[in-house]
Each structure stands twice: as structure tokens, then as C-alpha cells.
Symmetry: C2
Subunit: 444 residues, 2 copies
Amino acid sequence: MSITSRLAQLCCRISYEDIPAPVKHQAERCLLDCLGVAIAGKDHQATTIVRQYVERMQGAKQAAIIGCDSLAPAEQAAMVNGTMAHVHDFDDTHLPTVIHPSCTVVPAALAVGQWKMVSGKQLLEAIVTGMESALRIGLAVFPEHYDRGWHITGTVGVFGAAVAAGKLLGLDATRLTAALGTAATQSSGLRELFGTMGNPYLAGHAAANGVRAACLAEAGFTSSPRPLQAPRGWAQVVSCRSELDRVIDGWGKRFEMLDVGVKPYPSGVVTHPAIDAVYRLRQEHGLSAQDVESATLTANPLVAELTGKENPSTGLEAKFSVYHCVAAAFLFDNLAVDEFTDRVAGDPRVAALRDKVVVVTDTRWQPDQARLEVVSTDGGSYSTVVEHAVGSPGNPMTDAQLQDKFIMLTEPVLGGDGSRKLIELCWGLSAADPAELLAATVPC
Amino acid sequence: MSITSRLAQLCCRISYEDIPAPVKHQAERCLLDCLGVAIAGKDHQATTIVRQYVERMQGAKQAAIIGCDSLAPAEQAAMVNGTMAHVHDFDDTHLPTVIHPSCTVVPAALAVGQWKMVSGKQLLEAIVTGMESALRIGLAVFPEHYDRGWHITGTVGVFGAAVAAGKLLGLDATRLTAALGTAATQSSGLRELFGTMGNPYLAGHAAANGVRAACLAEAGFTSSPRPLQAPRGWAQVVSCRSELDRVIDGWGKRFEMLDVGVKPYPSGVVTHPAIDAVYRLRQEHGLSAQDVESATLTANPLVAELTGKENPSTGLEAKFSVYHCVAAAFLFDNLAVDEFTDRVAGDPRVAALRDKVVVVTDTRWQPDQARLEVVSTDGGSYSTVVEHAVGSPGNPMTDAQLQDKFIMLTEPVLGGDGSRKLIELCWGLSAADPAELLAATVPC
């Protein structure tokens, strides 16, 4: 039996009762965070373009677009919602693979869930099964696949979305295998588009393709029985190395979801230790922007590779600039959505400070670690080491911090009561349902 | 300026008047052939599943589904039409890259063309521009990209579809560059799915994604300015070697479309010299199926690599079995759609004859060449060499042969008058329009 078929069987067998309590809670956290960042991204220009494209198609009213009083076919709702969930680059991250898992799996699960009127328990089952599938397929090809230039959030997200959607459609293992095959042939996405609208779009694209793969399989669409590990299967084609046993080893015992971290800042996750370091120096030594003569960051090479844009000109590019992140953290008391706009990217104060940032990379530093040394204009020298950035598995955001983030993102849209209502629905997911959740994302 | 931007500029500049007459005629041939194979594939199970999925979405009535009295959003019409155009593996082939170019470009052009009510001349412009773009991008990465396991028809088809759609939407070079970027991040498809419904679907998927990429770009969606040749751009990610100058070198002087051949048989193009050889031996020596003791085929290694299935169990698999093709050519006087069904694949007479076929590969033989040696049950030995298979650039199907193929495929659906009317519309494309063409694909 192929790895794909075994994965499909394992996915079919997962039921709400078997999922350990911490994993259930993590699913609720991921859902809450995903809805929060999506609501904050619902009116971004990238989201608006995709939503208007979908609205112009005037399709069947199967599933809700987050934050809007409108419905679309499940596939298309997943496309819009996936785009808005990733548009601020503020959504959760599986640090071992840098996959953003919720932005593909949650939109697919919500869309099919509402369409098929499933329960909150079924929704949670689908989210866990989809996320585990995506993360494990990602682990099987990371880092070579990512290093090659693939946008892993999308390339493996389509598998997670297909599994989540397939689970909610009640596919048996044979049909779920076929859905994974269709997902494999749709798997795509280039890191080259980071910093453009193509980046968040890819999450929506993967979510939508996953829904479609599951729907086609439900209707009897055929595919390769071993799309992942055949000699010309997905893993071989998209990566120079793969370890496909990781897709199924320890399934049901070890949950990769538990290594998913919630982001405190809406920029590439590898910039976070640097930002934490700035805030710590500011707090400990009262340093401010005008005190900085130079700021030298020592960090893992991924920091330069992923976020090495020295002079970002747009908000989307600024998310991929550790220079911008360090400079902005000196200038602003909190780094949230507003600090990654085109306006702030072009602010001369930010640009001047960016020029003072030096990045030194060193493989001995883990991606969630950094050292920052600031030389001040009066000749003083200050340094700090961040061992685990806030939001990383070694220093996770608490539920209270997650709620604060959610409220910061959603209160301006939903008001305080609306924001708190959605928090309660997510923490009590097993008693809620997808339609109820989605309705609560719409401003009164 | 990037290769992608230069390509976009060249695409924007092409106008009907500049296209040489033989290229215009070739576009008409490709359109005619594409419509013929699509009409013959409109009720295939793979098509039906995709069409029913689209119909369930009940979207805006922008463009026609070929052979049906129904309309769908342009993107979705392109998806259904692309699937049916490739479902019999009977559509045209660019032999230097084994790309099937029409099944992605023509559906995208027809869908956007009808939606935007363009003229026949604009449709022809879009088909030529889209096909040239796809074929040249394919040439830049062939054969390494294909050898790795990529379904090149889909991976480059999405670029061709985006260009054709973008041309009809009137995109300027900046927006067309953005459309190519969105196409690049959507580019996908695995050869592993050959012989399953996932194979024709990929053509529909690429056609639809191309339409979407162009529509998003029209609305201002941003992307990388150099998606093809950046250090982590498409070419680098999907191929271990690329020669991107081929995308633009000689543009407007050399037309790759002229190397596109129409298929006489609905099986992998590399099986065609073998089939020609069987018919020649039957004609020259009166050999029949029961005379065959053994049949030894000597041909290019691609024959074994692409069509090496010794015991196909379905019609879709039989298209990728040179064993089936040789056996069926001995048993049937013509190899068309009916000779590649599940029933014929399972026919014991065919299976017995398949077991007598031996394939020897030799790199000295070109993909359009083959030698067949038959030892008969009475001890006789007969052999023939095919220098250029029918339908290859060295031995193209004549217009009359193409019409015969079209009539064979469409007369059972449209009747003789309907079939001939559509032929006339294609030969007079510059005076027709997309809506008229699509309406003529519907049985009275």
C-alpha cells in the first residue's frame, strides 16, 4: 500500500474523541488566530481584487466570505478567505518547516463545513487532520524543497486543504487517495512572489484547489494511487531529497500542530527574535530611535535569505525586510498591521534607521534566536540575546496574548462585543458550527 | 528589462496583420482540431465530472461549454473545455517538446473571447500569441523539466492561457507581466497522473488558471517583475537547466506553432510511428492479427518511457501503452476513440496480441521514427521502417486529412451538416467570432 493510501486511511480514521485535549485546544487557537488575521485583511487591496473577481462570477451561495455579508461557491469562498488569512503575513507558522498551515486548511474546512452544514466537532476534526497531513508532507521534503524556491505554504497547503475538505465530504480512503492525487498535480507556488499580492493569493489558491480536489474525488475522479512517492511522484519532482516515512510515522501519537506558533508581529517569522530584541533594549535601557548610531543583528542565515530586503518600497515588501522590522520597532511601540503599510515603508525616518542596521548571519544561531548590539550616538554599547522569540514553540503566545492580538485586530472591525463573541465561539468550537462562526465575522 | 517583461511587450505588439499567412492557417487548423477532439470528449466521464462540478456552482453566464447549451464563468468554461479537449489524448502536439498546446490556449481564448465579445481576428491573434509563448517557455526548459516528471502541457500551458486571455482583455505590458507572474506561481502538473482523469484535467486547470491570472492582473494584482528568470524564479525552480533566451529569440520571425502536428490516433504521439508501421505491413503483406507470432518494435527511448504500460486495464491507460497500440492496429482498421475504451483495453484478443509485442529502444531513432519486424506464425519475417509518422512535422496531416478526422469525431454528434458548418467557420475564422463558433458546437 502506498504512503498516500496509508495517509488517507489514517485521515479517515481520526475522530474527535481520539484527538488529545491539547491538540483540540491548539486547533481552537489556530482557528481563532486565522479568523483574526483574516478579518484584519478583509479589505486589503489583494483581498479586494480576489473577492471582486469571485463576486463577478456570481456563483451558488454555498459558503461565506469572512467579514462579508455574502456567500460564494465553497471553492471560491476558500480562495478569498485563504488570501485574506495570509495577506498580512500575520498568521501562524510551523517553525520546523516555515509552513503557514491555517491559511489554507481553515478556509477549506470552513467553506466545505458551512456548505455541508457540519458540526463544530467535525470542523475541528477536519482542521486537525488537514493540518497534520500538510505539515507531515512538508517535513518529508523540508528544507530542500523550500530551498529550491517553492512556496511551501501553498505547495503542501493544497494537500491539507484537500484532506480537510475530503474529511467533511465523508470521502472513504480510496476517494481521499484520489483527492490527494489531484492535489499533487495542482501543487504549486513560488517564493519569488514573496512581497507581492501573489504571496497571499497562493494560500487562497491552495485552499480552493484542495476543495476542488476533494469534490472531484467525491464524484469518482481518478488519479494515481501513489502520487506522493512514485518514481515521478510529487516528492521526487519537487525536491531533491524526501523522507516520506515522516508522513505517517507516529501518526496519532505525535502531533505536528503542537509546533505551530502564533505570530506576535505581521512579518516573516524569522524577523521576530530581532524585533523582540529591540523592544527588550528599549525597555531595559530606555533607548529610542534617535539614540541609534548602529544596530548589528546576529542571527540564523534564514533571516538574510528570507527577509533580506534592505530597502522595501511597499508594505508587503517590508514584511520581508528585517531591516524594516528593526527600524520600525525602534520607532513604534507595537508592530502590527499599520506598521507594514506602503506609507510606513516609505517614511524617511524608517528609511534612515534601516540604513543603520547591519545583519551578520551565523549557523550556530537557531531561527528563533538572535543577538542585537546597539552602539548609541553617545558612544555607549548595549546588547541583548533573545533565546526564543515570542510565538516560537519555546516561548509560545499564551491564550491571553492570543486574545489580545485577536482583539487588537478585530475590535476596529467588529467592535468589542463582536470581537469577544467570536473569541467565545472559538474556545467553545465543539458546540459551535461553521455557519455560526462565519456569521460572527461580519460587522453588525 | 526581464525576459518576462520583454515577452509581455512582444505579446502586446503582435497584431493580426503581422502574422504570416501560414501561421494564421495553422491557428485555424489547431482551432478546428481542438474543437473536434473536444466535441468527441464532451461526454467522457472525466469531462462529465468536471462539468457537473462547474454546473453545481451556477456561476455567471460568460462563456459556453463546448457541445452544451450552457454557459459558465469564463474561468470555469475554460476548465471544462480544456479537460474535454485533452481527454482523448487526440489533440495536437508540438513534437520538439511534447507539449499539447491547443488544449490550454484555445479554451482560454474562446472563453474570454466570447465573454468580451471579440472578433475572429482578435481570437486568432490571441491563439497565436498564447501558443507561441507557451511553446517558447517550454523550449527553454525542455527536456530536463519534462524528464523530472512535470506534465509540461499544464506547466507551460498556464502561461499560454494567461497570455491569450490577457491579450483579449487588452492588458498592457506591465499587467501582462503580472499575469505571467501569477501564472508562474500557479504552474503545476505531474506526469505521474498520465492514464488517469488527472491528465486531461490538468489541461483544464491550466486553462482556467491562465484566465484567472489575466483577470486578476487586469484589476491591478501585483507579482514579481521577473517570475521566469529570477534566481528563484520559475525556470530555476522547475528545471535543472534552462535557456530563457529561447523565449524571445527570433520572436515574430520563427513561429514554433508551425512545428505543431495534428494527431491521427488518440494515443501518446510517440506511439504513432509504430501504428503507422502496423498499417503499412498489413497493407503491403496482407498480414492480420492471427498471423502474428511476434512483433518487435525498434524506436526512440521515449516510446518506452512514456508509453511503456504493458498491460493497460483502462482506456486512459491504453493511450500510454505502445503494446496496446500495436495490438489494436492489427485488430482494427482505424484507431480512433472507440479503440481506447476500457472495453477494448480488457478485450482478451487485444491482451493476447499485446503479449507478443517486444519493444527495443535505441537513441539513434527519432521520436517520429520506428522499425517494426513481424515474425508470422508460418515462419515468415516482414519489416518496415517509418521515417516520419503521419502527423509529425516531417509528414503533416493535410487539411483534407484533418477534415476527415474532424468529421469522424463530430459527425456522430453534430450530424454531417453541423460538422461541415463548423469546418467552414474555422477556415474562415477572421470573419467568425467566438460565440458563433461555440454555438456551432452544440447539436441541433
